[in-house]
Symmetry: C2
Subunit: 272 residues, 2 copies
C-alpha cells in the first residue's frame, strides 16, 4: 500500500490540479468528470468502476485517512494514482477546510444505448423535471436506491446529479442507480409511454390517491420542480397522483414527496 | 396601515435590538423567544398568536415587503410594533444580506398542563430522541403537520425547534403542532405507555414492517438521532418497526424516515 502513495507537498502540483478550488470548479461543470467526497462515496465509486459505467481517475487523501480507506484502495486498479497530503496542503488545494479528507476524481462513461431500451419488462422508474436543487436531486437518487427503482430520467433543465453536493446527499447512489439527463420532460414521458409505461405525475392536486395507484409491470413516477411543479402540458396528458395530507399547508418538498410516493409505488408492485 | 409603520434609520436603534446579529444570537438561545423569518412563517405566527400559545412581540420588515404582508399585519393586535427599514439598514441590523426581508420576534407561552394530558383518546404522536440537526427537526414538524399527528415530544437532548432554521424548514409548523421538549426519551415513552399508547420505535432493524403495524387508538412513532439511532434501553423495551428498503444501503435520514413512517401510520389509522 505505502508504495502506491504519492506525497503532494505543494498546492500547485499539476498532478492534483483537478482538485484545486473545488467550489469554483463545481459551478462551471466538468463534462462527465466529477468529485467524489467522503469514504462512502469513494466506496460506491470503486464499486461502480468495476461495472464499467464509471472510472476512478485519481484519489486525493488526507494522510491520516489512508488507513481508513485502505480496503477501498485495494479494489481500485493499480494504475489509479493515490495522492496524499497533509491537512495544511490539502486545505490550500481545495480552497477550504476539508473535514472529510477523502476525495476522488471520477469520470462517467457515456452509455451508447438509450436507457429506456435497457429497462426490463418489469420496471419502476423515476422522472424528474426541472429539479434545480442539488440536495433534492441527491435525495431523489437515495430514495430511488432505497425503494429499488430501476432508473432515473432527468430532463435537460434539471441539475447535474454528479455535482459534489448532490452526490454526497445521495450517499453515492448517483453512482449506482442508472440515469440519463437529456430532453424535455414531455420527450421523456412520451418515450416511456410509447414503451408501455404507466405514467403517474405527482402533484398536490393529483386525481388518484398515491395508495390507490393500480400496479403495473412498467411504472413511472414523475416529479416536478420545487416551487412551480410540473408544467401544465405534462399534467394534462398523463395520470396524476397525490399524497394525501392536511389541507391548507404548503405541499411537501420534492425530496420528501418522492420518497413517500416511491415507497407507496414500490409497495404496490411488491418491490419492497 | 401606513400610520402603524415605524421607520428604523439606524442599526443601533434599541427598539430592534433583538434582531441584531441574528446568527450569533440564534446560537445562544433566547428562552422561549425566537425569530420568525419569511412571509409563510409570519403568517403561521399570526395565526398561532390568536390561539394563545404564541405571542408576536414585534415585526421588522424591508420597506418593499410591507405591501406583500399587509393582510398578515392586519391580523396582529394593534399594539404589536411594525418596524420598517431600507435594505442597507436591515442588512446591517441582522449582520448579513437578508433576502426575504420579513422578520418577527415571537414568544412561546409556556403551557401549564402537561402535553400528554391534553391528548385525546385518539392520538397519533411523534417522539424524537437526540434530534440535533435543525433541518431534520424542522422537517419532522412539517411531516407531522402534513400527516395530522397531534403532537411531538422531543427529549431534552434534541435541539430547539424554534431555532430560526428549524422553524423555516418546518414552514412554520413548529407554531401549529403542539410540542414539548423535556425529559429523557425513556421518561417520555414510559409516560406515553402508561397512558395507553402503543409505542413503535423506528429502526433499520425493527421487527415489524411499518406497513403491518396494527392500528390502535393511541400510537406513538419514535425516531432517534442521526448516526447513532435510538439508545438500546429504548429499543429493548418497546415494539420496533422498520421501513422496508434495499439492503446494504445506509438507512434513510431521520427526516425522510419520519415522513414515510408517519405516512404509513396515518394511513393505518385512517387519518389520511
Amino acid at each position: 500500500m505505502a508504495s502506491r502513495l504519492v506525497a503532494i507537498e505543494s498546492a500547485d502540483d499539476p498532478r492534483i490540479a483537478e482538485f484545486r478550488d473545488i467550489r469554483e470548479r463545481d459551478l462551471t461543470g466538468r463534462q462527465n468528470r466529477f468529485i467524489a467526497e467522503g469514504t462512502v462515496v469513494l466506496r460506491m465509486l470503486a464499486e461502480a468502476s468495476t461495472s464499467g459505467s464509471f472510472t476512478t481517475e485519481k484519489v486525493l487523501l488526507l494522510r491520516n485517512r489512508v488507513d481508513g480507506v485502505a480496503p477501498i484502495l485495494e479494489r481500485l486498479p493499480i494504475e489509479v494514482p493515490v495522492y496524499v497530503a497533509e491537512a495544511e496542503v490539502l486545505d490550500r488545494i481545495v480552497g477550504f477546510h476539508l473535514h472529510r479528507g477523502v476525495l476522488a476524481l471520477g469520470r462517467r462513461e457515456v452509455a451508447e444505448v438509450d436507457l429506456v431500451d435497457r429497462l426490463s419488462e418489469r420496471s419502476l422508474v423515476l422522472v424528474g423535471c426541472g429539479i434545480s436543487n442539488h440536495d433534492n436531486a441527491g435525495s431523489m437518487f437515495r430514495n430511488a436506491a432505497a425503494f429499488k427503482a430501476d432508473a432515473i430520467f432527468l430532463d435537460e433543465t434539471s441539475c447535474d446529479p454528479l455535482y459534489r453536493k448532490a452526490l454526497r446527499v445521495s450517499v453515492g447512489s448517483v453512482l449506482s442507480v442508472p440515469y440519463q439527463r437529456q430532453g424535455t420532460g414531455l420527450d421523456i414521458l412520451t418515450r416511456l409511454a410509447a414503451n408501455g409505461f404507466a405514467i403517474w405525475t405527482l402533484s398536490p392536486r393529483g386525481e388518484t390517491d398515491i395508495r390507490a395507484i393500480p400496479p403495473a409491470d412498467k411504472m413511472a413516477l414523475v416529479v416536478g420542480t420545487e416551487g412551480e411543479g410540473l408544467p401544465p402540458v405534462v399534467l394534462e396528458r398523463f395520470n396524476s397522483a397525490r399524497i394525501p395530507q392536511s389541507e391548507g399547508l404548503d405541499s411537501l418538498n420534492v425530496a420528501m414527496a418522492t420518497g413517500i410516493a416511491l415507497f407507496a409505488m414500490a409497495s404496490a408492485v411488491k418491490r419492497i
